[in-house]
């Protein structure tokens, strides 16, 4: 996993609430057997018509760019498909800011170096308004200090201390789990086996 420390970028506003992972990457694009290339179909049905012509959608609007996506509450609900996190990352996003994240998406994002930054609804609305008013608004996200800032407005965000260490150093859970196989084997010997 790539390390995540600090992201300074303009942002892309997507105010819709309850954005589910079927919107982020529709099921018909999950037929690949590798992790790469999902960015092309990120928000496929919001970006393109059936004839592949472009729709009026924020990712098609050259006014907005950057590696930070700012989205409405309950982002990433629905399917557990990790392809949603892969698609956002592959497209170029490194941070998603929202006032609420669905559990499985949040876990998948953290396992792929995509940082979910949860802020208050008020802060989120302020950020969305600022980005819409001035698309060049610079947003700073610092994982070390767990702070987000735009136009001098700061907020802190939560991140599990273990996951923070993983993100900053680029560690994966799998490295740790494999390193404690002996303890797992010992647990198996003592566990209830039905």
């Amino acid at each position: 996993m790539e390390k995540v420390v600090k992201v300074i970028s303009s942002a892309v506003p997507l105010a819709n609430e309850d954005i589910d992972t079927d919107q982020i990457i529709p099921a018909r694009f999950l037929k690949a057997t590798s992790r790469e290339g999902f960015g092309d179909n990120l928000f496929r049905d919001w970006r393109y018509n059936n004839d592949n012509s472009k729709k009026d959608f924020v990712l098609n609007d050259s006014t907005y760019a950057g590696s930070i996506l700012v989205a409405g509450k309950n982002f990433g609900c629905g399917s557990s498909r990790e392809h949603a996190a892969w698609a956002l990352y592959d497209y170029g996003f490194r941070v998603v800011v929202s006032s609420f994240f669905a559990d499985i998406f949040k876990g998948n994002a953290l396992n792929n170096g995509l940082l979910p930054v949860q802020v208050s609804e008020e802060y989120l609305q302020g950020l969305l308004a600022a980005v819409k008013a001035d698309p060049s608004t610079e947003v700073q996200v610092d994982l070390e200090s767990q702070e987000i800032e735009f136009n001098g407005k700061k907020a802190t965000f939560e991140v599990n201390p273990y996951k923070k260490v993983c993100l900053i150093n680029g560690y994966d859970d799998i490295d740790y789990l494999v390193s404690i196989k002996e303890e797992i084997t010992a647990f198996e010997a003592s566990a209830i086996t039905i």
């Binding site: 105010a15 559990d103 499985i104 201390p161 273990y162 260490v165 789990l177 039905i194």
Partner: protein
């Protein structure tokens, strides 16, 4: 200390706790399918790792398979490649696989319980959010991402923060025409699509206790639709009777020993939950959804609300525009062109029986395309043994072969853009059943009556 059902099962699986309050949680059974496993196998191979406990994994293709002519090679090249990859990976790593045509093949969440793989007190995961289904047995079961699929393959464990606990109690007798699907759609409409996020839910109360195992699975299945990682129901005699004699369930003395343990798996009288809800069964009526998330549900006789809780009006109107509905409107009389009966929520034999029982001697409306997809080869076999296949065919339903089908529109079973589909599946998201498709979630009974009437009706007028 008094414990909840969830606490008892979770605590029995904690290998150790690490920094940040994260538990190393041991996983008893891992179900895999073709869509979310190839990248996990690839990751193991890239890291030079072997499967840690291959005998705890069961594989089946379900999401990306056709529901016609399963004995022939899959036509769609990408789908064929993905299914072949599962076969190849399972052969290479010696994983138990129920491929197309195998008598045990089916939707992962249908075959786990019917084969006796799902048992009370177990921890189970799958790269699929509807893994919550298995909680109906008093198991801790939840969906995971592909990185976690690789972690479980490599270590049989996951790093997990302990979720908060919620209990939802439904007491009383169910109204006429109300099924498990209506109960869960009602609960989600009350709690919203995010109301359970961060929680593991226990469903309790006399109305829940009165349900069959298949009905309990329907309830737990949709826990994720309110954001909850999983749902559980305490095992009881109904559970034990269902499990007894199943293919991989404990037999003889081992079964008796297991039951003695399973009987301890209930929430202690003085245990507390982080959050509790109580719903009288009398308040629940046949339900249907009108919007683009499962929290947007109403009584079938009701009207679409003017606003939706704390949801922004922009998001709410966007959802209604997609569906072609207006605030304050009733759905009664709306013409429906498609009916889909299937998915891990409602594709079991009891669901097929409900549909066949209603449509027997009737005909689907001429303009309705009605598809019914059994959840597994075993369900299909049982339906044929009971003659349900003939009843359904005579009523003009297309009976397909097992798979996830039009629930997620990954194969060719799709609903056309703009068309309305009353579906027994679990998600009414935009484009879920095909680009532009408009999904209305409902019970198998509502779906059957809709197929015959060709429009949304007050189903209670059609019941004896």
């Amino acid at each position: 200390m008094a414990k909840t059902l969830f606490d008892k099962v979770w605590d029995a699986h904690v290998v150790k706790q690490i920094e940040g309050g994260i538990d190393v949680l041991y996983i008893d059974r891992h179900l895999i399918h073709e869509v979310t496993s190839p990248q996990a196998f690839a990751e193991l191979e890239a890291r030079g790792l072997e499967l840690f406990r291959r005998d705890k994994i069961v594989a089946t293709p379900d999401h990306n398979i056709p529901t016609e002519n399963q004995h022939l090679p899959i036509k769609d090249a990408l789908s064929r490649l993905q299914v072949d990859k599962l076969l190849e990976n399972c052969a290479k790593h010696k994983v138990e696989l129920y491929g197309l045509g195998h008598p045990f093949q089916g939707i992962v969440h249908v075959i786990g319980p019917e084969l006796g793989i799902t048992l009370p007190g177990r921890t189970m995961v799958c790269g699929d959010s509807h893994t919550s289904t298995h909680g109906a047995f008093g198991a801790i079961a939840f969906g995971i991402g592909t990185s976690q699929v690789a972690q479980v393959m490599a270590s049989q464990c996951l790093l997990q923060s302990r979720p908060k606990t919620m209990r939802i109690t439904v007491d009383g007798e169910l109204n006429k025409g109300v099924s498990a699907k209506d109960i869960i759609l009602y609960i989600i409409s009350q709690l919203t699509a995010a109301g359970g996020t961060g929680y593991f839910v226990e469903y309790a109360g006399s109305a829940i206790k009165s349900l069959s195992m298949e009905a309990r699975m329907t309830i737990c299945n949709m826990s994720i639709e309110m954001g909850a990682r999983g749902g559980m129901i305490a095992p009881d005699q109904t559970t034990f009777d269902y499990i007894k004699g199943r293919e991989f369930a404990p037999k003889g003395e081992a079964f008796e020993k297991a039951v003695a343990y399973w009987e301890t798996l209930h929430t202690d009288a003085d245990a507390t939950f982080d959050l509790e809800y109580n719903f009288p069964a009398a308040d629940i009526e046949p339900m249907i959804t009108y919007g683009t998330n499962p929290g947007m549900g109403i009584k079938i006789k009701g009207t679409i609300p003017e606003t939706l809780g704390l949801a922004s009006q922009d998001s709410y109107h966007k959802a209604l525009n997609y569906m072609g509905f207006k605030p304050g409107e009733s759905l009664l009389g709306k013409e429906i062109s498609h009916v889909f009966i299937g998915s891990c929520t409602n594709s079991r034999i009891e669901d097929l029986r409900v549909v066949a029982n209603y449509v027997k001697g009737k005909q689907r409306a001429a303009h309705v395309q009605a598809m019914i997809v059994p959840g597994s080869k075993q369900v299909e076999k049982q339906a044929i043994a009971e003659g349900l296949d003939l009843i359904l065919k005579e009523a003009g339903f297309e009976l397909r072969e097992p798979g996830c089908s039009a629930c997620l529109g990954m194969n060719e079973d799709k609903v056309p853009a703009g068309a309305y589909c009353v579906s027994t599946s679990n998600r009414n998201f935009e484009g879920r059943q095909g680009p532009g498709a408009r999904t209305l979630l409902a019970s198998p009974l509502v779906a059957a009556i809709t197929a015959v009437q060709g429009k949304i009706v007050d189903i209670t007028e059609f019941l004896n």
